[in-house]
């Protein structure tokens, strides 16, 4: 049954109110036909007796009260999926923009997805080698994890994401990752960077891109990540692929969410963002993981730019509470010319402990990474102290730590944009750095590993 109405009472920003409606259902998909025959879409946000509040998925431009027709479709928004999605580029609402033919769907899936039963999840514990020491060595990414990059305007988060997309592999498996890429409100240059980079390395064939540019309708940004994840779920759990999902920039997504909330005159939470933003973000981030009995996996790498580099801002804050760790980028290191400029100390991968160790990376990995962290933290402290007191006031051991911190940034963190280090190479660099410290300082590593891996020249 299709029901059509011309009784639009109000349009304000992304919100439209239709009156005299009967049988409208919450969350139902709505089509709006403009006077010229053009079709826009939206969904029911609230029904109150005969009044339906509708959130538009596309711009409201050109809608008018009298001539537009509203149809209630009796279903939720869906994405047509098939393996033909691979290699294609779509806009933020799922329409092809690469000049290719429309997709003939094998089936249609609702884009909001359903919550995964925690009992059905398989725990992510397989090591992904990204070839980047700052990640593999210190904040190891595992298959099925959601690990965001907390960045700031002007920092090279896109280069890092592209490098990960290029280099990520599961050791011992020949198959490479499929990449599903979602862009919300990024510039043409940024989008083009990803497309060109993926094309250059031949990765575009196993990639799907959904791109909402900065000048595309803001409101589409709410749909884009859900299209991305529906596509990823299909490829991972029905086509057995390892999928890497990159979402950029989540800050633009959250802003679109705020716009809808403000238009509905909801009681705002912190900084005007809606009180349900945590729940809303979790319906995106939680769509990562592995399922028992399925071969594929979804690993998520959302990117967000922190307004004024402030990590207590609601967007990074709520994200950090949902994701399994975070990679911070540092403006200071970036200025020093260090790529990738990981702000090492606050970076964290919550799942690393399950993805490293014997049989996965190497037995000494946990000890090495803890020792590197502790030593670098102390080095950074000393460096601050030296800035106040001068180097002369430092004790001998403090000076060693300061030198360690510098070398650590220069040799361990810094690497080339096309440099693909194996985990063994990363650990070797780690041990070389640890050999700068007196042996008594290596409290975090077991003696047996020191015997086995500490470079010989130092031990005598």
């Amino acid at each position: 049954m299709q029901r059509e109405y011309t009784s639009i009472a109000e349009i304000a920003g992304p919100i439209m109110i239709v009156e005299g409606v009967s049988g409208a259902k919450y969350d139902e998909l709505v089509e709006i036909e403009l006077a010229g025959g053009e079709i826009r879409r939206g969904r029911v946000l609230e029904v109150d007796r005969d009044k339906a509040v509708i959130q538009l998925f596309e711009a409201a431009q050109g809608l008018n009260l009298r001539q537009s027709r509203v149809r209630f479709l009796g279903k939720v928004m869906e994405l047509g999926v098939s393996e033909d999605l691979l290699g294609r580029v779509f806009d933020g609402a799922g329409r092809p923009i690469d000049g290719g033919p429309p997709i003939i769907p094998e089936k249609k899936l609702p884009i909001s997805g359903e919550p995964l039963n925690p009992y059905s999840r398989d725990y992510p514990n397989e090591f992904i080698q990204t070839g980047i020491s700052g990640i593999d060595g210190l904040n190891t990414l595992v298959l099925g994890q959601k690990l965001p990059i907390f960045s700031g305007a002007g920092l090279p988060h896109n280069q890092i994401a592209a490098q990960i997309a290029r280099q990520a592999k599961v050791l011992g498996e020949a198959e490479e990752f499929s990449v599903v890429f979602g862009a919300m409100g990024i510039t043409f240059e940024e989008a083009n960077f990803f497309i060109t980079d993926l094309r250059k390395t031949g990765a575009l064939e196993r990639a799907v891109m959904f791109i909402n540019l900065a000048d595309d309708p803001v409101i589409e940004r709410i749909t884009t990540p859900r299209l991305v994840l529906t596509c990823a779920e299909y490829l991972a759990f029905e086509r057995d692929m390892h999928v890497l999902v990159i979402l950029t920039d989540m800050t633009n997504y959250a802003e679109a969410l705020r716009e809808v909330s403000a238009a509905r005159k909801e009681v705002p939470g912190r900084r005007g963002y809606p009180g349900y933003m945590y729940t809303d973000l979790s319906t995106i981030y939680e769509r990562a993981g592995r399922i028992k009995g399925k071969k594929g996996s979804i690993t998520q790498m959302p990117i967000l730019t922190m307004p004024q580099d402030d990590k207590t801002h609601p967007i990074p804050d709520l994200t950090g509470y949902i994701t399994e760790g975070q990679l911070f980028l540092s403006r200071e290191l970036h200025r020093k010319g260090i790529y990738p400029p990981f702000d090492v100390l606050p970076c964290l991968s919550r799942l690393k402990d399950k993805g490293i160790g014997p049989g996965k990376t190497r037995e000494d990995h946990a000890g090495v990474l803890n020792q590197l962290y502790a030593a670098y933290a102390r080095g950074v402290d000393v460096r601050e102290m030296a800035a106040i007191l001068g180097e002369a006031a430092l004790s001998k051991i403090d000076r060693v730590y300061m030198r360690f911190a510098d070398e650590f940034e220069r040799r361990f963190i810094q690497q080339g944009e096309y440099e693909d280090r194996t985990i063994m190479e990363t650990l070797t660099i780690g041990w070389e750095l640890l050999s700068m410290l007196p042996r008594g300082e290596l409290k975090r590593v077991r003696d047996e590993f020191i015997e086995k891996y500490l470079p010989k020249s130092v031990r005598e």
Binding site: G23, D27, V47, P118, Y119, R121, G269, E286, G289, T312
Partner: protein
């Protein structure tokens, strides 16, 4: 029951008219899929209902049916080892029947209807019984004897009691009440989640809930029946601490509520607990654990209920006479769920948009913890400890959930992201945290561990405090400007931090430290400190003391397994003494030479 009609749907909130006999907090079935909802506001003919499932597809005109019952849980054999969602639907059964995703409108009994349990009566026919009396038991797992109790509100004469194998729905006993009313008792009973289960009397806390976590047991202990909160910004290790406590706390029963948190974390618990051994019994930890999982992407109203579901189950086991510990991770998500529903109800918001009743709800929750004398015979004491994680936005502890919680709980483990950044775990800040039980528990430590325990604890705290003051000075004038005795204090404090308080959850040995081992580890550090002081008095150079190789052995003492600890401890202690003797002998020789 009257059937109402929906007039409005807004997210998890549904308004219905015509539910004429609905009471507050009654459960209703919403729509054709019969989704579970709860009446939270009554206004004239209108009832506002929070729905525990996704409300997509509901619209005005859809039916709403009252059940006349409040939201309740099923209590009986089969709870242990289960994982439930926020309204006690068994996630394992849901997966078996409906696959990996949780569809709407799924229904499954919380306790298996087919499993037979061997019931052994302890009461006999003709006994006078009243509420709370234990009339028999079921060996639920190798770790848990599930006591079968007369449900609250029932008393009379036991007219019949049967031994044998029963499902939870079969009658095991019949009680003839005062007016001749006949009550059929089953292995299972029901209880409304928002109402605390009754007990006879509350008692003060005087026994330690041993956790095996050094900073907790030594510096900020929690008593059995106590309350604690763990606030901290993201990445500071709240969840790891909660997991560690769930693993190692010496409670008989653990109820772990994953409230609005990550799905993978619940999976972690599910996969790890069956593998881990209880340090006391050697049995898998899962055999004493009940899990409630309402992850962040599951419906928000059920998140609000999950905390109540968890604590009701915990109370039920407490009533059997057990010491129960409940972990809720995170109570902030629970409060946010309240805020979301309150916002949809268009209630007048209190601080930061939270409802004005936030404080009283949090108080009601923590008030359900405590050490009690249970109802019924035989007389028994039991405890329910509640530990809640709090996730303050931006790590700002002045926010309403943290502040309301701090007014109620007696232990505060404040997590510090600066400690986490330097990989000092558990990242409990020793200057900020407190435990109001330390004094109450002093006699316990004295009797169970050793008379010097409390002295050592105070000494450690003092050194850490002095360290913080000295650090200030060092930051201004450098470490070389300190007196040798202050430098020694600084070094010993560092040893306390790094060698004692820091504890790896991921190291097989370090993850759990018995009280005895904690005590002895403290003694090692103390011995070093005392001998260092004496050496300084003899004019020994501080650098010689700092560079003594035996310090590395003190540092690594935590990695010595419990079974070898006593012997190795003695070795280290001897080595400390010898090291100092050597240093002093050498210096003494040099001194003697100089004099001559």
């Amino acid at each position: 029951m009257a059937i109402g009609r929906i007039v409005k749907v807004a997210g998890p909130l549904v308004v219905a008219e015509g539910l004429t006999d609905a009471k507050m907090y009654d459960v209703v079935r919403v729509g054709k899929e019969r989704l579970v909802g709860e009446v939270i506001v009554l206004d004239g003919d209108l009832a506002s209902i929070q729905v525990y499932e996704e409300t997509g597809g509901l619209g005005p005109g859809d039916p709403v049916e009252g059940t006349g019952e409040p939201l309740s849980v099923e209590l009986g054999p089969g709870l242990i080892g289960s994982i439930y969602d926020g309204i006690q639907r068994p996630l394992e059964a849901i997966q078996q029947r409906w696959g990996a995703y949780i569809r709407r409108g799924v229904e499954a009994a919380a306790l298996s209807r087919t499993t037979k349990w061997r019931f052994t009566p302890t009461a006999k026919k003709g006994d006078a019984v009243s509420e709370g009396d234990i009339i028999g038991a079921v060996q639920e797992t190798t770790l848990v004897v599930h006591k079968i109790m007369v449900p609250p509100g029932i008393s009379g004469t036991l007219e019949e009691i049967r031994a044998g194998e029963f499902t939870v729905e079969e009658t095991i006993a019949i009680v003839r009440g005062a007016q001749g009313k006949r009550h059929e008792l089953k292995l299972r009973q029901r209880w409304p989640v928002r109402k605390a289960r009754p007990y006879r009397e509350k008692l003060p806390s005087e026994e330690l809930l041993t956790t095996g976590q050094r900073i907790v047991d030594t510096l900020f202990p929690i008593a059995k029946g106590g309350t604690a909160c763990v606030p901290g910004p993201f990445g500071s290790g709240k969840t790891v601490i909660q997991h560690q406590l769930a693993k190692w706390a010496d409670a008989d029963i653990i109820v772990f509520v994953g409230c609005g948190e990550r799905g993978n974390e619940m999976t972690d618990v599910l996969m790890e607990f069956p593998e881990l051994e209880d340090p006391k019994t050697g049995e898998p930890l899962m055999k004493r654990t009940v899990l409630i999982a309402n992850t962040s992407n599951m419906p928000v109203a059920a998140r609000e209920a999950s905390v109540y579901t968890g604590i009701t189950i915990a109370e039920y086991f407490r009533d059997m006479g057990y010491s129960v510990a409940l972990m809720a991770d995170s109570t902030s998500r629970w409060a946010e769920a309240m805020r979301e529903i309150s916002g949809r109800l268009e209630e007048m918001p209190g601080e930061e948009g939270y409802p004005a009743y936030l404080g009283s709800r949090i108080a009601d929750f923590y008030a359900r913890a405590g050490r009690v004398v249970c109802l019924g015979k035989p007389e028994r004491q039991a405890s329910l400890s509640a530990i809640g994680a709090v996730s303050p936005p931006g790590g700002d502890l002045s926010e309403p959930v943290t502040q309301n919680t701090l007014r109620l709980v007696k232990v505060f483990w404040g997590l510090d992201d600066k400690l986490a950044y330097r990989r000092h775990f558990p990242a409990i800040n020793w200057l900020m945290s407190y435990s109001l039980y330390s004094e109450d528990l002093a006699p316990y430590f004295e009797q169970r561990v050793g008379p010097e325990w409390n002295e050592l604890r105070r000494e450690f705290m003092k050194l850490l405090q002095i360290e913080a003051e000295l650090e200030e000075i060092v930051r201004l004038v450098g470490v070389e400007a300190l007196s040798p005795s202050d430098r020694l204090k600084l070094e010993v404090a560092r040893s306390i931090r790094e060698d004692y308080l820091m504890q790896s959850a991921f190291d097989d040995v370090d993850t759990y430290t018995s009280l005895k081992k904690q005590f002895k580890m403290m003694q090692l550090i103390k011995a070093f400190y005392e001998m260092g002081q004496r050496a300084l008095e003899q004019g020994i150079d501080i650098h010689q003391i700092i560079e003594l190789p035996v310090r590395e052995r003190i540092a690594k003492a935590k990695f010595i397994p419990e079974s070898e600890f006593d012997a190795r401890w003695q070795e280290i202690l001897n080595e400390i003494t010898q090291s100092f003797e050597q240093v002093m002998a050498k210096a003494g020789g040099a001194y003697a030479e100089r004099v001559h």
